[in-house]
Subunit: 166 residues, 2 copies
DNA sequence: CTCAGTGCAAACCGTTTGCAGAACG
DNA sequence: CGTTCTGCAAACGGTTTGCACTGAG
């Protein structure tokens, strides 16, 4: 069926993409898309499954994975791996479609920022190294403001100055 | 036993680290370390296991994983995830201990380059956002020179201009 | 009716862990 | 000699896949 009533404009965009490539626009696909587009965060599959449930739907994990794959292929959604052992998903339709990430090593929070500098880096590697950039990822790991204010300090592990061979 | 004969200077540095934290310097640990330090590439665990075999040793995967964990903790080795479904390891004792990566979407090759610009970005997020950077990762995905010369072009998939709601 | 989508459960695969036996110090 | 490591194999956990069933047109 898919009444399209209540689905976000972004989800309609996704529906357009599906029709474009000849795939059915199903209720499950619209629900998953809605959940992703309604959130401004970086969602894990579990987050998505939970929110789907909260909305009264019951969609299998396999379908969620398959739908996320379609969303990523449509380029409406980006897949991230912050080294947690699972992926996170974020739609690209916010005010800042291309942005970088600040990941707190203490609390795991993820903040976003824009870095025009990186585009300079991209044109430099193209000019100097002949590498043709398509997309990039800049993740900065460290301590967020809140954790610093809470007095957290990171204990440096490992060799202090590894760059010297005795 | 561990004769230390033939082990690279970097491996001796690793041995020093192990003793520092009160852990035994075993033959297996030295062999794994040697393999990693002898390579300038980005090695998968399979790569390492294969090279260990090629050197006539037979070390279980579990031990390789456990040793890599120690190497990473010592900060002599860095762990990377280029989205291939497994990790890669690279020692930090080359001429350019901190560098970024260019990953070819066609052939999967990984090249390195230095980006002083990123340090400017780090101090900017610190000054403007109060985020205290510890380390970063800048990966640029695209087409390497060789693949471009071979005539490869990436077929853009998905919606051309997703940033507009119908 | 037909065909793709869905859900379940099993498979997958890189990585981790438990444990008996071997090695280090 | 006690402690830690090693190797094997089983466990783990996120993700993918096979397949019978359901639903849309």
């Amino acid at each position: 069926m898919s009444s399209d009533i209540g689905v976000s404009p972004y989800t309609r965009l996704f529906g357009r993409y599906l029709r474009e490539i000849g795939l059915p626009v199903t209720q499950q696909r619209e629900t998953v898309a809605d959940v992703v587009f309604d959130s401004e965060g970086h969602l894990s599959v579990d987050d998505i499954e939970q929110e789907v449930r909260a909305r009264g739907a019951r969609i299998g994990k396999a379908t969620i994975y398959r739908t996320l794959d379609l969303l990523v292929r449509s380029r409406l959604v980006e897949e991230h791996d912050f080294g947690e052992g699972f992926k996170r998903y974020e739609h690209r339709l916010s005010r800042h479609p291309v942005h970088e990430h600040l990941i707190c090593l203490e609390c795991g929070s993820v903040a976003e920022f824009e870095s025009p500098e990186v585009f300079g880096v991209e044109s430099r590697v193209k000019a100097e190294l002949g590498f043709q950039p398509v997309r990039h990822r800049l993740d900065i790991y460290g301590l967020c403001k809140a954790c610093q204010d809470a007095g957290v300090t990171l204990t440096p592990e490992g060799l202090i100055c590894p760059i010297e061979t005795v």
